[in-house]
């Protein structure tokens, strides 16, 4: 009976019990010292995080340096889009230049994957660094062409699709594009 009590007493004074206490004190002091560290929070509306230029945000339609729409309504972006949020209708003006009659992106479906930008042969569709496009009404997330079109060339400044393509439009006939030779006259017998 007495030996049981002695055993209990020995157990009570075992070092193990008290080492735990030290580790608790250690964790308390560690947490207390974090007080003097810089806080990790970026207070968003006032402070902003750095956003890289190739950020995939709100989609825009750009214009070429002459101020014309770059989009040739080839539908490649709509095909590339994995969620099918792009809808457009091709049309042609009196000079044979193609343009989208309407161009609609449903941003409530868009996953900002950037495939449309990759697919675009004319650099028309581009993703920007803007991400603040929250809306209270879902319908407002459907952007029409006038919402998407911007006045500048976006990320690619000097590029003009029709100036490098062998296609005749107003003010530029075949063979007048940059780095392009005059087409061979197939009716002539001269070499």
């Amino acid at each position: 009976m007495v030996s049981v009590q002695i055993l209990a007493l020995i157990r009570f004074f075992r070092v193990k019990n008290w080492v735990y206490m030290l580790s608790i004190l250690k964790s308390i002091t560690t947490v207390f010292m974090t007080m003097f560290r810089k806080r990790a929070t970026i207070q968003y509306p006032e402070e902003r995080h750095y956003i890289p230029p190739r950020w995939r945000g709100r989609i825009i339609l750009s214009r070429d340096p002459d101020g014309e729409e770059r989009c040739v309504a080839c539908n490649l972006c709509a095909v590339a889009c994995p969620v099918g949020c792009i809808a457009l209708q091709a049309a042609e003006d009196e000079h044979g230049r193609r343009y989208p009659e309407f161009f609609r992106i449903n941003f409530s479906r868009c996953i900002f994957c950037g495939y449309c930008e990759e697919a675009c042969p004319t650099y028309a569709i581009q993703l920007t660094t803007d991400f603040e496009m929250g809306e209270y009404v879902r319908q407002n997330l459907v952007y029409e062409k006038e919402d998407l079109l911007i006045s500048g060339p976006g990320k690619y400044h000097g590029y003009n699709y029709y100036r490098v393509a062998g296609l005749s439009i107003r003010g530029k006939d075949k063979g007048e594009a940059e780095n392009e030779d005059i087409p061979v006259d197939i009716k002539s017998l001269l070499p």
Partner: protein, 318 residues
């Protein structure tokens, strides 16, 4: 007549201050936890986010006062009131400064212990009346926890009582004029503080409301201001334990230069912050660890403390 009015004024100002502190602690806790986790916490509403308390209380008052149909209605309503009443009653015996206390009770300390035992009813009744398994488990746990930690909470204070020779809290503070009781009663302080944490069921002893296993424990079924009462009751209890620790071990209102009330407030504030620091840093133990820690470590410690203090007091007298 004027004395009665003065007394009433002191009473109501203490009530006002205590309740204000109880609600402001919500803000303080969130800010301090954020500070210790490298965040900011609520800092939008008003200066430093101070009006967050107001916003929260408007929200909680506007909430539906829902009583589950399966609950025991009368007991369900009484339970959150009990904890508020009990904690506010305990504040009556705390000497904030010479002359600033509600009653100068000659059994002040016993009164506090009695009231803190009454607090068990609140939790037990809430757990029972909710009539849901999580609430009942939480209630059971907290009853077991509070009852076992109360045992040595009382015992740890007896050393102080022996040294001061009184149960009156004002006299206990006066007895510390020569030196704070923290030095001769260090073990008593540790045991009392740990028991106090368990008594207010704060982390690391918040097993009654362990979110990860019991949803919210005994107040899982509560909403609106009934939940708010438990919430405020918990913060009031923190303030109470901190104030008592100050009065019993850290010389109460004593201190140089500044007025006594300010000293009391500063010391209490430090302990409240320590409560929050504990929450920020420690994980909760397993339930059996909690129990064995209480009965196998804390109880023997407080008994040894009691015996040694008694022997020293006896030797001094002869």
């Amino acid at each position: 007549m004027t004395e009665t009015i003065l007394h009433l004024m002191i009473l109501f100002s203490i009530l006002f201050v205590v309740l204000t502190i109880g609600s402001m602690l919500i803000w303080l806790e969130r800010r301090l936890l954020a500070l210790w986790q490298d965040r900011y916490g609520p800092n939008r509403v008003g200066p430093f986010g101070l009006l967050q308390v107001l916003a929260d209380s408007i929200k909680i008052f506007a909430k539906e006062d829902w009583i589950p149909p399966f609950a025991d209605k009368a007991v369900f309503i009484i339970a959150p009131a009990v904890i508020m009443v009990v904690v506010l009653m305990s504040f009556t015996v705390i000497p904030f400064a010479p002359g600033i206390e509600v009653v100068d009770l000659n059994i002040g300390l016993l009164f506090f212990l009695a009231m803190s035992s009454m607090g068990v009813y609140s939790v037990a009744l809430a757990g029972w009346a909710s009539n849901s398994k999580y609430s009942l488990l939480g209630g059971l746990r907290s009853v077991a926890q509070m009852l076992s930690y109360e045992v040595f909470m009382g015992l740890s204070l007896m050393g102080v009582v022996m040294l001061a020779g009184s149960f009156n809290l004002r006299e206990i503070v006066e007895a510390q004029r020569g030196g704070w009781f923290i030095i001769p009663q260090f073990i008593g302080f540790i045991v009392f503080f740990i028991a106090g944490i368990a008594e207010t069921h704060r982390l690391p002893f918040d097993l009654p409301e362990a979110e990860s296993e019991l949803v919210a424990g005994f107040h899982a079924e509560y909403s609106g201001m009934k939940f708010g009462m438990f919430f405020i009751g918990e913060y009031l209890a923190i303030t109470l334990i901190s104030a008592l620790t100050v009065a019993l071990f850290f010389g109460g209102w004593m201190g140089p230069l500044l007025p006594p009330v300010v000293w009391f407030a500063i010391k209490t504030f430090v302990f409240i912050c320590f409560f929050i620091l504990l929450r920020a840093s420690l994980p909760r133990p397993r339930y059996d660890q909690l129990m064995s820690f209480g009965w196998k470590v804390m109880l023997p410690l407080s008994l040894i403390n009691l015996v040694v203090t008694g022997a020293v007091v006896l030797l001094r007298k002869t």
